[in-house]
């Protein structure tokens, strides 16, 4: 009789096996064709562009950089402020629900909606960043406060006013974490701001899209290099003392002037967003037939494609993370290989997946392949980075094996819980981004959202966006359930 199997590793293996199976199934169903005739030739041209970037069209370059930064600063500041207010009331379920729905809608979708109200203006860009970020800030700040040590507050004299307790015994405990997270969010906001260019706002992404679409890869490369420069130098120029200066400069460069006629807002909410049959005086039966048509033609195909692409991307992400983390782990390789590994991972995780998908679309033509590659390379680099950093805390015994044996026997079992937790955290983000890639022409939910906006059918837009929110909440709940069941601890540095 063989003794029964009762190992911690087997639980993780089962879960990752099931997820991998789902991913494999998705990859079988996904359209992975390459429709571009000569991707090699295009890649060569792109590489030439990257080797000889053209910084000569300086005027629009600097303008785009300034806009990108101004929108990011204002969006982050507003988002942090609103998120902080929500975090203070984090114990209320209603607040948590509002925050969850705000962050479940991607910046680009907020942008598409706001464009209808405030046009191509600073306000549109700032709110498109600030609204979802307030939800993210609320969650992170709220959880910091929840996890902070309650003892200092409990030790205060009874009958101290809640406000004083908060500022004396709660806030100081988490202030450092708030600041660090704010810095990280600003970096995300710069990325988001750049991407908003793809829906027409005058940021780096706008010029990047134009340059690449027209084949001016040298100009596009210059824009991308500038973008990298801003992100890589962030830690030097982002000083707490300078924050007010940056904020004032951002406001002065792009003042967020709201000029919206109340009539437009009222019309948008009370007419444009109302389902067509109801607007035209129809009843429930018309509404149901409208919904079922929408379901058949857009909702279901969009949801299905989003799910297929997202699950496929999750699997490829996992494989890439497993392959890439040894590149930066001190347990493998040497100084030179780790330096190269860090360089590769930094570039991949700094380039937004949206940009990557755009490049791959140009190279390979429209199919799911560009989307899967982009999501997996970007997310895989993030997870590999976090896993590699985590592996620094492992100390192996003096007689530990090397090479493949070390990887499979000593390291992989030890990093598995963290790797799995990182991947499950990122699952929701992958789904969110998958939906958004539709704006580039991949037939996920974002494609139908973008088309409905173009056709001024905002009632459809609303239903489709609600569908992305539901999908996100579902994936989030699933991911949380799995983490809880496997007792996976949240890893450090997960954003």
């Amino acid at each position: 009789m063989t003794p029964s199997l009762n190992t911690t590793a087997s639980g993780w293996r089962r879960t990752s096996g099931l997820l991998a199976l789902a991913g494999l199934l998705a990859l079988c169903l996904a359209d992975l064709g390459i429709s571009e005739v000569s991707p090699g030739h295009e890649l060569l041209r792109m590489a030439q562009g990257f080797l000889s970037p053209d910084f000569s069209s300086t005027e629009f370059l600097w303008r785009a950089v300034a806009n990108t930064l101004a929108f990011a600063w204002q969006g982050t500041a507003l988002g942090a402020l609103a998120g902080f207010c929500m975090a203070v009331c984090w114990q209320w379920r209603a607040v948590r629900t509002v925050a969850a729905s705000l962050r479940a809608v991607h910046e680009l979708f907020w942008g598409l909606l706001l464009l209808q109200l405030t046009g191509l203006s600073t306000v549109t860009a700032v709110l498109a960043i600030a609204i979802p970020y307030s939800g993210i800030f609320a969650k992170v700040f709220g959880e910091f406060l929840e996890e902070a040590n309650p003892a200092p507050a409990a030790a205060l004299p009874s009958r101290s006013k809640a406000l004083s307790v908060f500022f004396y015994a709660r806030l100081p405990l988490v202030w450092q974490a708030f600041k660090a997270y704010g810095g990280y969010r600003l970096e995300c906001a710069i990325r988001a701001s750049a991407i908003l260019g793809f829906i027409g706002l005058p940021t780096l992404g706008f010029h990047l899209e134009t340059a690449f679409r027209e084949g001016h890869y040298d100009q596009g490369a210059a824009l991308l290099y500038l973008f990298f420069l801003i992100i890589f130098t962030l830690r030097w120029w982002l000083r707490p003392a300078l924050i007010p200066v940056y904020l004032i400069a951002a406001l002065a460069w792009a003042p967020p002037v709201i000029n919206i006629k109340p009539a437009i807002l009222i019309r948008f909410v009370t007419e444009d967003l109302v389902p067509a049959p109801l607007r035209q005086g129809g009843g429930i039966s018309e509404l149901i037939s409208w919904l079922s048509t929408l379901w058949q033609q857009q909702l279901w195909p969009g949801l299905w494609q989003t799910l297929v692409l997202g699950m496929g991307a999750l699997l490829v992400t996992a494989v890439l993370s497993l392959l890439l983390f040894p590149l930066i782990s001190p347990l493998f390789g040497n100084r030179v290989s780790r330096f190269g590994g860090h360089g590769l991972l930094v570039v991949l995780r700094t380039t937004p997946e949206f940009f990557l998908a755009f490049f791959f679309l140009i190279l390979l033509g429209p199919s799911m392949l560009p989307g899967i590659l982009a999501l997996a390379l970007h997310t895989g680099a993030i997870v590999a980075h976090l896993t590699g950093r985590f592996s620094e805390s492992l100390s192996l015994r003096a007689d530990a094996p090397n090479g493949l044996n070390r990887y499979a026997w000593e390291v992989l079992p030890r990093i598995s819980p963290n790797l799995l937790a990182f991947l499950l955290y990122r699952w929701e983000v992958i789904m969110r981004e998958t939906a958004v890639l539709g704006i580039l022409g991949i037939h996920t939910l974002g494609f139908y959202i973008d088309s409905s906006v173009a056709e001024f059918r905002f009632d459809r837009t609303l239903v489709l966006i609600v569908a992305t929110v539901m999908l996100n909440l579902l994936v989030d709940a699933l991911s949380r359930g799995i983490r809880k069941r496997l007792r996976l601890k949240p890893g450090h540095g997960v954003g």
């Binding site: 063989t2 003794p3 029964s4 199997l5 009762n6 190992t7 911690t8 590793a9 087997s10 993780w12 192996l396 015994r397 003096a398 007689d399 094996p401 090479g403 493949l404 044996n405 499979a408 026997w409 000593e410 079992p413 030890r414 598995s416 819980p417």
Partner: protein, 215 residues
Amino acid sequence: MFQFEQARLGHPGQAVFENLTLHIAKGEHVALLGPSGSGKSTLLAALRQQQADRVAWCPQDADLVPMLSVFHNIYMGALDRQHSLINLRNLIWPSRHQKSAIGEIAAQLGLAEKLFTSVDKLSGGQAQRVALGRAIYSQRQVLLADEPVSSVDEHQGLALLKKILGSHPTAVIALHDRSLALQCCSRVIGLRDGVIALDAPCDSLSLADLDALYQ
């Protein structure tokens, strides 16, 4: 087998042994005794460095892979004997041959029931037996062990120690239990503040001689 001539051992910048001269011959079973901080672990690490490829290593806190089963942790003693791909196969799907070979070792150590239980679900004493199992399965000539039975009760400790010494012709074992040392080993080396304070065959020593080390 092992020799040090006026060697300086320790961590960079801080020597534990200023001037160590020591010879250990093949076939000796040496017990290392001494109060904590006397240099036992440092000496074991230095011994290991001299013969890294012939040593079955059993460090103080076992250092097993906690989420893997007893089977896998014992198998790890033989990773260098097989091709990496065969090792990979046994990680995912243990072969019948390996299961019976390692099952036998586990049974001798009282772990038969737990063969496919992960180490994080075992007690400290059981984990120490797994570490000993790994050392046995490595089938190497020399055992270097640091307090290998500290979490096992005295009676079982004696049986375990005899078992493991039976599978390694040469051994150096750091112990804190003086009577265990006298019962199992052939030679005792007593350390104190980085100096060899005592070095004698076991049959010439009494418990009282050893007590002097700790005073």
